[in-house]
Symmetry: C2
Subunit: 153 residues, 2 copies
């Protein structure tokens, strides 16, 4: 059971725990997102979050950022525009392109989601120990690092 430089046993254990982490995170996200009220889909919320952080963006750039195809993002933006969450203006530098910007209504929706999601999970988090909560906050940061590396491939 001694380790080699590739430590295949460790890799197998890591892979198993990694898949458990994915499943646990997947179930958690589903449970936490199932709160009441005017729900928006994950892709809409991620797009709003992206626009708030980065300012107006082209549809193609939004698609790349969210790792979906351009036709899919075109449809998402179209629905968001109908709901008034974003506005589009033609790109002065390129007649083919549009700039999509978050509206005040879009910002309210995003903030409302954050508040309600927090409200929903907060009681469950309150039953954890202080140490367990701090593990979750650290895990959020670490998952962010891992996600960035996965997305850079």
């Amino acid at each position: 059971m001694q380790s080699s430089r590739e430590t295949p046993q460790a890799d197998a254990a890591t892979e198993r725990r990694a898949s458990e982490l994915i499943v646990a995170a997947s179930r958690f996200v589903r449970a936490a997102s199932r709160h009441r009220g005017r729900d928006r889909s994950p892709i809409v919320l991620r797009t709003l979050s992206n626009l708030l952080a980065s300012g107006p963006m082209r549809i193609g750039d939004l698609a790349v950022a969210e790792h979906i195809t351009q036709p899919t993002m075109t449809g998402v933006v179209k629905r968001m525009e109908l709901e008034g969450l974003v506005a589009r203006e033609s790109d002065p530098d390129d007649g083919r392109a549009w700039l999509v910007a978050i509206t005040p209504a879009g910002q309210e929706v995003l903030e409302g989601f954050r508040v309600r999601a927090g409200e929903r999970v907060e009681p469950a988090l309150a039953h954890l120990t202080e140490e367990e909560r701090s593990i979750l906050w650290s895990a959020a940061r670490i998952m962010g690092k891992v996600t960035a590396e996965l997305n850079s491939e």
Copy 2:
């Protein structure tokens, strides 16, 4: 801005971090699940995982366990059956019901997903410190606890 018996400042901070956790987990799951090969959807994989852990189950019980409606689970099981991932047999105790069981092919699919997902994220995890990895494993367990509480409501 003084604190009441409910310590609103702490709640607000917890809510904010909770929403950050949800977003981080959501992006991580998407990134980790975007591996190549014969992909199955999250609901199919969760259902397989559930059947493997719990043995043959009724469609209605599967729907409750996954928090989707019965008609949706009927469709999921139908597609899984066409792919040979599950088999159904009539419930000897209730002529209206079916028992859905995972097949060897379903077990292979589930195991294959676990291996590929692990393979995909393992390199990124290898760049973390030992402590960071152990935080993620702990977080998986804690998210499971929180999910159970959220789902029990």
